[in-house]
Symmetry: C2
Subunit: 253 residues, 2 copies
DNA sequence: TGTACATCAGTGAACGCGCGTTCACTGATGTAC
DNA sequence: TGTACATCAGTGAACGCGCGTTCACTGATGTAC
């Protein structure tokens, strides 16, 4: 604790840098090999070290994986939040579309990390991280929820297309105090929108839309996200109207 | 070829039975362990054989995996088709809901197989099977498409909520002669519906909706699927109206 | 119907490999007087 | 400021394990005359 006013703890910085480098190298290798498998041997080789050295930083191969999963959750959440916040607060629909686009781009850029989060859970990796992850796990969803809550608080949400909420679902929502600002109808609509976004993203990220042209994939995604916005009651901003409104619905075009 | 009129080729039947048992055992193990990894050693042990014996049936561990993936595609396609066909032809929306429910139940029952199909593709497994799988791969989608094509041919499709189809997407659809019976708008709507269905199914199958009660999950799924039906222009059948219509929309309840 | 041969399922032993992990040790970096 | 000690990153050798795969062989099942 004497280090507070003392010199910068070089060792700790070096240590943190190495931890980061290990994780970055792991991701790099996953990216190259297209798998979520990581070998300590490979990481060490790429870093110009010997495998045992990694045990100074991670007690276990599992511990590294847990760290990678946690990072992935945070990265995705940050990407979504950043894209959302880059759009004017008044443009509710624009924010949703930007956030959804970030969700997609992140998944397309890093399918392995996306798979770490949303793929088949490996037994022993999801349960033990209960602590740090219950909060981290839902970060992407939280960012979407925050957006809905914000819009809801400001009275900017239209009623969603589905206006009835089954009791069982209503009860569940009520228990999540984190989302207490959102009307049950809108919360339900958000879940529908998220599922829709997640579906198109998963399909594309894992190559199931490869038979389409890239432009067609873009168009399909945008259509999916706009449809979700519409059914969820996210209003288009006046300023953004030109890009958001369906051309065919505009009289005189 | 003399066996046509001759006795039943017992050896071949035994052989086919063993192949089936190997695949079934592999699935069993994947189910138990919660992984998509399969070890020849384990399969052999469970079957009361020695590992080398399996090489009589599969040249490779990879060959077994390819077979399992192909089977999974077919199983899912069959399940969807069967559920769809169990509903009256006139009840377009009911057929969709049944098919979607089968998609979901299959995924919940066999998350590992679902992951084999729709998870992060393992390099070397998806590409080499180009032959038997290009057709098999899209079987679930084909079953959904067949449903749309059928309804479309009979003039039973309403216009979907999204009526404009971007040119890039329109061109893609035109190239798929398999789907030539469907209007581009409806084809696009089908893709949106599929993505929506796939999203809610993936999230639930991989445990991302575990914080909800089972009944709430059921309700959310049904809502998602109904919403998709509505936006895709799938009409409710008169007979099925009682179960399909939103209770709150029925006067006097 | 019976005998001689071919086919094929399955065994048991063994090879080879690569990976996770441990451990004693070295050399450099930081700390205390 | 300098010296003595503690801390810690990284090495190199080695262990253990388990798995995929090969191969020569056995015994049973089917086939041809």
């Amino acid at each position: 604790m004497t280090s507070v006013a003392g010199p910068i703890p070089r060792r700790e910085r070096a240590r943190a840098a190495t931890v980061d480098e290990i994780k970055a190298t792991a991701l790099e290798l996953m990216h190259e090999q297209g798998t979520t498998d990581v070998r300590f041997t490979d990481i060490a080789r790429v870093m110009g070290m010997t495998p045992p050295a990694l045990y100074r930083y991670f007690a276990d191969r599992d511990e590294l994986l847990v760290a990678l999963i946690t990072d992935a959750y945070n990265d995705l959440g940050d990407a979504v939040a950043a894209a959302r916040d880059a759009v004017d607060e008044e443009d509710i629909r624009g924010r949703w579309i930007a956030a959804a686009g970030a969700y997609r781009q992140w998944a397309l850029r890093e399918p392995q990390q996306f798979s770490l989060i949303f793929g088949l859970p490996v037994p022993g990796f999801v349960a033990p991280q209960e602590g740090p992850t219950t909060e981290a796990a839902s970060r992407a969803l939280s960012q979407l929820a925050a957006m809905f809550a914000d819009a809801s608080r400001r009275g900017r949400l239209d009623p969603p297309l589905v206006r009835t909420v089954p009791d069982s679902l209503r009860d569940c929502v009520a228990e999540e105090q984190k989302f207490s600002d959102i009307a049950p109808e809108s919360f339900q609509a958000m879940l529908h929108a998220w599922a829709s976004l997640h579906g198109i993203t998963s399909l594309e990220a894992y190559g199931h839309l490869d038979w389409m042209d890239p432009e067609a994939r873009d168009a399909l995604f945008l259509g999916q996200v706009r449809l979700a916005a519409q059914t969820a009651g996210l209003p288009a901003d006046r300023d953004a109207a030109a890009t958001e409104v369906d051309p065919a619905a505009v009289p005189g075009t």
